[in-house]
Subunit: 508 residues, 2 copies
């Protein structure tokens, strides 16, 4: 990949450098937790503080999930107690960090409470602080599939998982699909429930025993803490699913659909992951019409799920929705009533180190990019100013699909999206097949088959990615090269656990 | 318990002797398999023989489940190949052995193919052969909960699990509830799927990918073998659920119901496990009427499930059915359409070494006995001739309920059921609360509360167990003491992994 990775990082952390997106078929020794057996002891506790004091010790790894997204109350409640009691040297290992968690993590870092973080991503004040060297040790960024791999193989060993749930019975049988703060799939949290030494459920809704369906099971849970509220229902998912009206986004979405429908993968039984956001929803809408017009049905839709994808399921255009998280209320609410909306954990979704994940069978995926370079390497982690403001999510994982499409505008404001070299390499160009912009598409030269099949699509001009990069540069000029200090503030793992890039401290 | 257990067995196998039915709250280090990662490789194979040859080696532990019961074809197909290829020194670790498996296991033992067995039980020609010393090493009998414990802690390390399923997709997503040979819950097999190094699904019904609901997941499966038929639908479960007409059984069932309804546990939200067989079904019917008459509803019914229990669920008399296996077609067929019939694995059902099993919350259980002695110890494993002809099943596990009732006639034919000392101790008297016979009941003296609450139930005379034993003896006389050789042919573990008894070779 030709990224600058300091040797001392590789040695100190015992990392291999990324070489291939083909995981192969290695032997994998999985790990398992050490647990305290119980036989009917009371698990319900009123005081979250008591449970934190009973379970957390200096130096431990504590985890959370981000299924409540910007409506999360649990993370702040727990971290407040942890900070106020002066714990030190904790490792935070959440599935991801949403904006509502930023300020308290910055405070925890400043006070020496948190000295290590592994996450899918971070943004805002936290990304800024870390980029300026606030955290003692480099953050490790991992994709959702890689987090599952790391947990299953012991690279992440969670001592205590604090998992907010919209319902639980007194023994810890819980799901994400019922209750005022329902968020649908518990996909990421299921890893923590299975592998953490100690599992603390936090809920505002204790249900009669036994509570079913039980996505998290009593066999995994040590404590059930009753609190007033676990989240703000209005902020858990975007409420209405807004269809973009931006002409550039619409043009890109339409072109993405042209690429899909003119590829060999668009046939009965195909599968896809479209993701969230206004542009992704537009793709889903165009794709829906093409499926109807061509009498083509999909076998499954994968990934973070939105209401428009559920609509396809209900219309019979998609047989199964394989659901690791839900991005909006419509998707979350449908889960408990639609048998074909299958909850999957992060391992089943995307872990390369098990006996086969859903992403292995994925035909078409549409992904975004903060930057993409002329080697097709994609950055979804840092801004053009070098500051951390993104998340890997399932980007590296889903990019292993047969047809991986990056949808991105040539420029955003005065900043080029297509660049000679990405600021941070997150997903390798090896995995990317087509870049779709508002002016046309570029095809990875490795994919000669696509160069052929997509060369004569009406209204879809094909360029080399260097040409698109030049067009972007002509629009916004050549930016002054970024300057960084030598200190490494974050490590970007590839999904196999190798190191694909590092992020250095920004120079002010 | 005062059972004769040879010291060399304790030393050689590093066993503790059973001391208490209270498991306590020890720290438990769970284990995890080493697996071969795959990313989309083809798993479907036509030749079962090829897969056996690729996966099995001399000395390995191979496992099966018994959910197909007497309709199972998979066990015989796999064992035929194993025997014909001359494998040696295998350990058989099925969830249990049904009669249809007996003859081929005897053959495998005689040919040195199988030298160790761990099972819930065995009967017929196999029990006879083992009792006469055919197997090289002692069989280890474990309850369903103890098997889960042993698998989760590494005492049973399964190299290859051959799991028959009524449906699977090409990647190994499978369930037990759909298809011509549906048997309902995959409860016992879920342990094998999660913990075996290599998992081979055997099916006659390949479904489109992705197959849901997936009780067994593709992340766990190495091979999917397509065969002509996995089982005989007519023999998987007893077809019609027959209500006993035997006056003695009816009398016992009625008395069991009197004991339940006059106990403190019979109140709204109570829970129960009734089991299978004509007498158990009669209990369920009497209990149903009492629930209606007293306007009492149960929170859950547990265990092996029958259609009459599903009827209670559908009538609203039971909120949830927690289902580790289904004994008949009615129960099996209802699973995929009734959300309140929750599939549970053997660990969730009954493992004492996790963070809480369903049996911990069980109020009332009705269990059977081949023999029960004046210390309330129960034998469900060997006949009065000393020959193995039974299974622990969930007996030890469910006996930890708050009210454990043994229902048994005083005598069967010319053989006493109530004896001074059981031939084989399986479930300790510590766990047993009430014995119900056709002439009256006996209450464990430890349960002074029950002596009080059940002393004045109309039509239910209370005796000491010694009195009942005397009545049985008066009916059939005193049998000649059994004679055994010194050699130990089977070990009876308690559910915590301690040794509760041994079975010695019968003397002819």
């Amino acid at each position: 990949m030709n990224r600058e990775i300091p040797d001392e990082i590789l040695k100190e952390k015992n990392y291999e450098v990324y070489t291939t997106d083909n995981f192969g078929t290695p032997l994998i020794q999985k790990v398992a937790p050490k647990l305290r057996a119980t036989t009917g002891e009371e698990k319900v506790v009123d005081s979250l503080e008591d449970v934190v004091l009973k379970t957390v010790e200096d130096g431990m790894t504590v985890s959370f999930h981000h299924h409540f997204r910007e409506g999360d109350y649990v993370f702040n409640k727990v971290m407040r107690i942890i900070i106020d009691h002066g714990f030190k040297n904790l490792t935070l290992a959440p599935s991801s960090l949403t904006n509502v968690m930023n300020d308290i993590v910055v405070e925890a870092i400043e006070k020496g409470v948190v000295t290590n973080i592994t996450s899918s991503g971070m943004r805002g004040s936290l990304g800024d602080a870390v980029s300026h060297g606030a955290l003692k040790n480099p953050v490790i960024f991992r994709s959702h599939g890689n987090r599952a791999r790391a947990i299953e193989t012991g690279a992440i060993k969670i001592d205590v998982a604090f998992l907010g749930v919209p319902n639980s019975d007194a023994m810890g049988n819980a799901n994400g699909m019922d209750g005022a703060t329902a968020f649908g799939s518990l996909g990421y949290a299921l890893m923590d429930a299975q592998y953490a030494q100690t599992v603390v459920l936090v809920t505002d809704n204790i249900k009669p025993y036994p509570n079913t369906p039980a996505s998290i099971k009593q066999t995994q849970v040590d404590y059930v803490v009753k609190v007033d509220a676990v989240g703000n229902p209005d902020k858990i998912g975007s409420g209405a699913t807004r269809f973009t009206k931006d002409p550039k986004e619409l043009k890109i979405a339409k072109t993405v659909n042209e690429v899909i429908t003119h590829s060999e993968y668009f046939k009965d039984g195909f599968s896809f992951q479209t993701g969230s956001g206004g542009a992704a929803l537009a793709v889903t809408r165009f794709l829906r019409q093409s499926m109807i017009d061509n009498q083509i049905k999909a076998s499954f839709a994968l990934g973070g799920i939105t209401k428009p994808t559920i609509d396809l399921l209900e219309e019979g255009l998609v047989d199964k929705v394989m659901d690791v998280q839900d991005f909006d209320k419509g998707a979350a609410e449908s889960m408990h009533q639609n048998k074909s909306q299958q909850e999957i954990d992060a391992s089943w979704y995307a872990d390369p180190a098990n006996k086969g994940a859903m992403v292995d069978a994925l035909d078409v995926v549409i992904l975004s990019a903060l930057e993409i370079d002329t080697k097709f390497n994609v950055n979804v982690m840092s801004g053009s100013d070098g500051v951390i403001r993104g998340a890997i999510g399932g980007h590296q994982d889903a990019a292993t699909a047969k047809l991986t499409i990056i949808s991105a505008p040539l420029v955003r404001g005065r900043i080029a999206t297509i660049v000679p070299d990405v600021t941070t390499a997150v997903t390798p160009g090896d995995s990317i097949d087509v870049l779709v912009t508002e002016v046309g598409i570029a095809i990875n030269p490795k994919r000669k088959d696509l160069l052929e099949s997509l060369s004569k699509v009406p209204g879809v001009p094909v360029y080399t990615i260097e040409e698109l990069q030049q067009m972007a540069q002509e629009k916004v000029g050549t930016p002054k090269p970024l300057e960084f200090n030598d200190r490494v503030v974050a490590l970007i793992e590839y999904r196999d656990g190798s190191l694909i890039d590092v992020i250095k401290e920004v120079k002010d």
